[in-house]
Subunit: 107 residues, 2 copies
DNA sequence: TTGACATGCAACCATTAAGTTGCCTATTAT
DNA sequence: ATAATAGGCAACTTAATGGTTGCATGTCAA
């Protein structure tokens, strides 16, 4: 579990997860295109994400395809949120999103 | 949001959140009792948790009471988990917990 | 089969972060 | 008043982390 927290601590790695959330199964090359750093640096970040089981990898020939796995993130959130508290928080979050969407429609 | 991820990246700080999850509103001194480090080090950790809004503080005389705030953790988990995926993950988690509880009862 | 492409591995550097020691301030109780 | 208690602030040390460069490996296509 420590690996998950450490992996999420870096903004570049969070952006990689964002990338995969938008479009799953990207190669290393594709993921590099969105970050301002060398391919080697991105590789290191992806290795950490793999170690944390946040990213799962499939080889296709010489290409490495990356897939997001959100299970660890869900497990993480359960550590300090009780069952009933979760429902309350979810309801508040849904309400907030609803209001924001409404505001966007009007504006 | 970056502050939240950074704050959660350290095991000592996670233990502090665990402490508050067990018993909310503890003083600095009480929180120190559970960690193998100086009071000053614990203070630093708590300052980071406060900055991330994971811990809220109330002064009572010369004592500083610390309270857990789980809202940021819930928001965090929403970043990479879609609405329907969340339901699926929650169902799986509940099932898993149910099985574990059953096993414990039998054993 | 040879060149280009996709990725891996290792050494190195700079910055951040965790923890320490030492000293200061404010509140409580005798 | 003053001693004990609860906590804050700052400088310093050391280890971890993010990023770089350079070179090696394996796969595809002409």
């Amino acid at each position: 579990m420590d690996a998950v927290f450490k992996a999420l601590a870096d903004e570049s790695r969070r952006q990689l997860l964002d990338q995969l959330h938008k479009s799953n199964g990207q190669t290393l090359g594709e993921l590099c295109a969105h970050l301002e750093m060398t391919r080697q640096a991105v590789t290191k970040h992806l290795l950490l994400l793999e170690a944390a089981n946040l990213v799962v990898v499939v080889w296709r020939g010489r290409e490495k395809l990356h897939y997001l796995n959100s299970v660890p993130i869900h497990e993480l959130s359960e550590r300090w949120i009780g069952k009933y508290e979760r429902h309350r928080l979810q309801a508040m979050s849904d309400l907030k999103k609803g209001l924001e969407q409404n505001k966007t429609k009007k504006g």
